[in-house]
Symmetry: C2
Subunit: 375 residues, 2 copies
């Protein structure tokens, strides 16, 4: 097996963060050779990389660049030449790279005579199996997410209904104001929540719409929070659906269906079960309750996303639990469990928790109550 | 020139966001053909893409995947097969892709007989030249950044000095607490600030250290805030250096040197000037004032990062102003101007504003005062 090679910054590449355990905002080289982990850093990052990273050997970019320039005086030297130099030094003729390794650099390395072997599937398969520390970091992420959801609940409870609007602190309660309350609570809990969803009514029928403008009483409001913990880089991911005021029967039916689908999925998830099967059972459950899924030119209604996805250094990572997820869940995988139903006119509901896969019932890594009708 | 092809999500690829003007958290295909912009979306994103994106034609992933499967029944079909199908339909035999296009997909497309031409330099060179709307969006980003810096100043002013610590709201003022105050203010101003720096004393001598633990009186504290505006995706990026208490002469000298270096750089920046020259003049200025730069095994001291970088949909983007920046500044480019000096024992100072390049003096897109000694 070829030694791994990465060229990325850690905000764009979770593989790089996983390998080096250091935040670096600009792309840098890392690789393994002879069982040791190497990284190449410029002066700006060198000291911090030596002190804080998980690398065995930290090399200075500037002197390697000088050496590359004297080796190839007629060329504009960059990462490709530095990697070629290091490969020669370590007697390496090939590297394994992830699917998302930059093609520009790969082409240059191939021109230098190096074999660049693209990994099939995950680059670090171990990332899919969460250690105890990783599970704790994800639980911490969900503690941040729950702080955000609790803030949303507090704001909705404290809001007053005036006609078709909600008022909070003497102003119309909007998705934007609710998101600020959520994200502030996440910050105070030690995480950063980006692209938070706080969408009501028909807006929430687009599952990735973040929500904008006034929130209204008597309508379902989806609150989906996926913060990154500052200290570790791991994420939480939780969703609750609230309603301020009094729900009608169709709304209650919708929420009950989603919650029962989530419980069903949680009963099915364990080592060796395929993500497609879990998803299929959720789909069948909704069908059996009369909640149909349809797609037309106007868009989709019903349940038209996956039941869940892996969670860790990325918000979306393997394994998937959806219609095309053909691999079995591995012991130690961490997945979201988030069925939802979306019907313009009636509204939308999604409920999301996070499960750690075991040989038996999964361990929940998220915790928040399911009360949703806020009077 | 080959038509552009992208495969990325919009949080990892600013090119994708620039092309489609839609937030999508999972990778998707976009391309141009016959002067029209196309995107391929799954059911989850389709409706939102139709309503909100800047694309001319939005195609449904699911039906394209079905067609690919009937064309290649023996293969596991994915983005490569869908792109091959679309290329055949539009009679395209080649695509231009950015440097960071995923090599895994590029290899598959080449195996399908498509020529994949990797762009040299920026994929959308127009991104470097900011329109009036983009400059306004960056100014808005800096309004968020300034709200964060103002929050830091308020907290420091309100803190009390007790021995070698600062106290705020009855507890030790730490980098972590100061960052929460900064990031909350950014949220309320409409942006999200990640990896905010609030580092004091020797910690700040590592320019990318974010800061941890107690902040102290009489030491220089670097506050560097680079929020993304929620509505537009554009960033601000500002830095101020504060000191709570009374500075001594060496600290005052350091801050004055950095501020004069920034003014010098701002006087030099205009259309056609090379980023290397601007940087070289800052380096020479520091040298002339006796502030030496050195690198040893223990790390670097003095001024050892670039003078500035382009700012837009990414925090770091072209053009650069540093020792290896060999291209001239273009009219309409937006760059940070952020000289700094770092000396463990004495401390560190960086002052950063944002300039819009014109044929004459640059227009400042950031605004905050330079008072720094907070009694």
């Amino acid at each position: 097996m070829a030694d791994p090679l990465l060229y990325a910054d850690t905000s764009h590449s979770a593989d790089q963060l996983y390998f080096c355990r250091l935040y670096v905002p600009d792309p840098f080289i890392s690789f393994a050779a002879g069982g040791k982990k190497y990284g190449v850093f410029n002066r700006l990052e060198f000291g911090r990389a030596q002190k804080e990273s998980a690398l065995d050997i930290v090399l200075p970019l500037e002197s390697l660049l000088e050496r590359a320039k004297s080796r190839w005086p007629d060329r504009k030297c960059g990462p490709a030449e530095i990697i070629a130099l290091l490969a020669a030094e370590h007697k390496l003729t090939e590297f394994a790279v992830p699917q998302d390794f930059p093609v520009g650099l790969a082409d240059q390395l191939r021109a230098h005579g190096l074999a660049i072997i693209v990994a099939e599937g995950a680059f670090f398969p171990a990332r899919e199996i969460k250690t105890g520390d990783e599970a704790r970091a994800i639980r911490e992420g969900n503690r941040c997410a729950a702080a955000g959801i609790a803030a949303a609940e507090r704001v909705l409870r404290a809001s007053r209904i005036k006609g078709k609007k909600l008022f909070w602190r003497n102003a119309t309660l909007t998705s934007e104001r609710l998101k600020i309350a959520i994200e502030t609570a996440c910050l105070e809990a030690g995480g950063v929540s980006i692209d938070t969803i706080a969408a009501g009514g028909d807006q929430a029928c687009d599952p990735h719409a973040r929500g904008t403008g006034a929130l209204r009483p008597q309508e379902l409001i989806i609150v989906d929070v996926f913060p990154r913990v500052n200290k570790t880089g791991y994420h939480g991911d939780m969703t609750r659906t609230f309603l301020k005021g009094r729900a009608h029967d169709a709304q209650r039916g919708l929420v009950a269906a989603v919650r029962s689908a989530q419980k069903l999925a949680l009963r099915r998830i364990r080592t060796g079960v395929s993500g497609r099967d879990v998803h299929g059972q959720v789909v069948a459950h909704f069908e059996s309750l009369g909640y149909k899924t349809a797609t037309s030119a106007a868009g989709s209604t019903g349940f038209f996303h996956g039941t869940g996805h892996g969670l860790g250094l990325e918000v979306h990572e393997p394994p998937r639990m959806g219609a095309t997820a053909d691999t079995a869940l591995k012991k130690g995988a961490v997945v979201t469990v988030e069925p939802g139903l979306y019907y313009p006119g009636l509204g939308a509901c999604r409920i999301e928790d996070v499960a750690h896969v075991t040989d038996d019932a999964p361990t929940l890594l998220s915790k928040y109550h399911y009360e949703w009708e806020l009077r």
